[in-house]
């Protein structure tokens, strides 16, 4: 069958990029550019002057203490919140005024910190919903079961199985999504996000609640996804071993502001970052 999916250009490319800003991947438009991005909730600046560029095939980490505004950044990028300041460019295209669904069609897909699957639907149907905009046919064609319905449904089925196989979840296809174990639900969320054919994949704490061996497997898979699909991945994670191992660039957020950007090595030795995580040495006793 003719392959009409852009995300199957499986050239295994050696990791091209290394730093977050500015000197890499110059022949491509960056997958994401945030310029002076910010949002205020009734005077409170939840995210302030957030600047970040992510290359076309980069894995970037967004870390910071609890309440630093990491998920808020994801919500801004996916337009769950409309930013009050600044600009977001996806592949060089401005996203201002776009809705959540439109931004997804522009190439941003995400997972959620508190898993959001279509619980009562099967695993396979969850992935098919992700493929929704890749294989369009009208509701009317579906009701009368026009030829296009049969052709497209066959493609839906094949693509969904291929995607599930990335995470070795083919055997779970007919299970109810809501009844899957926790780790499998997290993986299914990633598969569903991938199904929308993103250029930028946002993972919100993908390793939360996973045991070390599951986390190790997840790390491999994240890198594999980047290599196979040639997309940019940005992840929020508290598991530092995961972040330091697979992220090429890391951005540290505290109280809504970027306090450091750089390679894992640079971040690990950054004074400000250590202070944000551990508190100032002399105040350590009173810090929460």
């Amino acid at each position: 069958m003719a392959n009409k999916f852009n995300f199957q250009r499986a050239r295994m490319v050696p990791v091209p990029s290394r730093a977050i800003v500015p000197d890499r991947d110059l022949e491509h438009t960056p997958a994401l550019e945030c310029i002076h991005l910010g949002i205020e909730f009734g005077g409170l600046k939840a995210v302030d002057d957030f600047n970040l560029t992510i290359g076309k095939t980069e894995i970037a980490g967004l870390i910071g203490p609890n309440g630093a505004g990491k998920t808020t950044v994801f919500n801004l990028l996916t337009k769950v919140y409309q930013p009050t300041h600044g600009t977001i460019l996806i592949n060089g295209q401005d996203t201002s005024g776009k809705s959540v669904a439109q931004v997804n069609r522009m190439g941003v897909a995400r997972t959620f910190q508190n898993i959001r699957l279509f619980d009562s639907m099967s695993v396979l149907d969850n992935v098919k919903v992700g493929l929704h905009n890749q294989e369009p046919y009208s509701a009317f064609e579906g009701v009368i079961r026009a030829p296009r319905f049969w052709a497209r449904e066959r493609e839906f089925e094949e693509r969904a199985h291929e995607l599930l196989d990335i995470f070795d979840m083919g055997g779970l296809a007919s299970e109810r999504a809501g009844s899957l174990p926790y780790g499998a639900q997290r993986r299914l969320e990633i598969v569903r996000a991938l199904a929308t054919n993103p250029r930028l994949l946002l993972l919100d704490e993908p390793a939360a609640g996973m045991n070390p061996s599951e986390t190790a497997e997840l790390m491999e898979n994240i890198v594999k996804i980047r290599d196979t699909f040639q997309i940019a991945i940005m992840l929020i994670e508290h598991d530092m071993s995961l972040v330091m191992n697979i992220c090429e660039g890391i951005c540290v957020l505290n109280f809504g502001r970027v306090i450091a950007k750089g390679t894992p090595e640079e971040i690990q030795s950054n004074e400000t970052v250590i202070e944000a995580y551990l508190g100032k040495q002399k105040e350590a006793g009173t810090d929460e």
Partner: protein, 356 residues
């Protein structure tokens, strides 16, 4: 087909088969004259209620939007259908074709009403949506109450009787003209062209439309929106579009059911399609199981026949109906009572699943 889940396909065909079998058995019984008069008069209304239940299940069960104004769409379909059938009686002499045309017209009018109401209303959710659909149901009832429609050689005459001071005479119909809808009295003197067979066909069509929709790309999107709105948006679905599709399809089917219902009685009052009728249909849907079309059909048939069967209780029958309703809800939804019931009854195949 391999890629349609085999179990799902088999279940759907069982549902179709059940409807066909029921139709054949009832038709045979009716031709033998075995069915008592009180029940044979109910045959067409039962098919109407089955279609109402199937269509409401699409909104409440599949799309997860609680609608308390479904009877309003039935009303729109009934009166537009009656007007259509009456004014075409010369143009289309064949009863069957005229019935079909009036059902299509009823469905179209109801679909337009569903679209116009759905656009503002579907911005709301949950109990707010429920109360607003209830409000629209009542508005439709009162608006129809104000309609005076007649037909003559020139064509249709319509008066919207806002101040309540107009009568049929104000239509100024020509010689040989007929008044079709007379305000709060509703329509009277309409021809009874509905048949049980037409009802059966409509049930099959409604079932096919809803099941095919649910098993398609759009149906998955509708269920995804129901299960998790935020996640559905994040994978690029337009929430309003898919809720609106469910709402409009449901309204259209209710309109067709209304047109059939209207063609079954010589007298039809707008008050028939009030809040209580909407609730009645909702009861079918909830008792039959959310998203379970076969359940809706069975519940609609049983609960329409039940009050007839309870005639022996005469005055007590609605009381008994209410008690049965409460007990069924308690026994199917309370964990302890459900367990007790499970022990008393022989095991049956799995409980109601969503989106079935």
């Amino acid at each position: 087909m391999k890629f349609l889940n085999d179990k799902v396909t088999r279940r759907d065909f069982l549902t179709y088969g059940l409807v066909v079998a029921a139709f054949i058995v009832v038709s045979l019984l009716a031709s033998q004259g075995v069915i008592p008069r009180s029940l044979s008069g109910q045959l067409v209304p039962v098919t109407c209620y089955v279609v109402m239940a199937i269509s409401l299940n699409l909104v409440v069960g599949v799309a997860g939007d609680l609608s308390l104004g479904h009877a309003g769409f039935m009303s729109v379909g009934a009166f537009s259908g009656v007007v259509c059938a009456m004014s075409l009686s010369a143009a289309i002499p064949d009863d069957g074709i005229r019935l079909a045309v009036s059902m299509v017209v009823g469905a179209l009018f109801a679909a337009v009403a569903g679209f116009l109401i759905g656009i503002p209303v579907l911005r709301l959710r949950g109990d707010y949506l429920a109360i607003v659909t209830l409000a629209f149901g009542e508005i439709i009832k009162e608006v129809v109450n104000c309609l005076i429609v007649g037909t003559d050689a020139i064509g249709l005459h319509v008066i919207f009787n806002v101040a309540g001071d107009k009568t049929v005479d104000d239509l100024h119909l020509l010689e040989g003209g007929v008044a079709i809808i007379k305000g709060a009295q509703g329509a009277s003197g309409t021809e009874k062209i509905a048949t049980f067979a037409a009802g059966f066909v409509l049930v099959m069509i409604a079932l096919a439309v809803v099941l095919n929709l649910v098993r398609s790309r759009a149906g998955r999107a509708i269920m995804a929106v129901r299960d998790n709105r935020i996640a559905a948006e994040s994978v690029g679905l337009s929430i309003t579009k898919y809720r609106l599709i469910a709402f409009v399809v449901s309204a259209a089917l209710a309109g067709a059911a209304g047109a059939l219902y209207g063609a079954n009685f010589s007298q039809l009052s707008p008050a028939k399609f009030d809040f209580n009728t909407s609730i009645l249909v909702l009861v079918f849907v909830v008792l039959g199981g959310l998203g379970n079309m076969r359940g809706s059909i069975i519940a609609a048939v049983l609960l329409t026949i039940l009050p007839e069967a309870l005639r022996g209780f005469s005055d007590y029958r609605m009381l008994v109906y209410a008690i049965v309703l409460i007990l069924v809800m308690l026994f199917t939804n309370n964990p302890q009572l459900k367990l007790t019931l499970g022990k008393l009854l022989p095991k049956r195949e799995g409980a109601v699943a969503h989106g079935e």
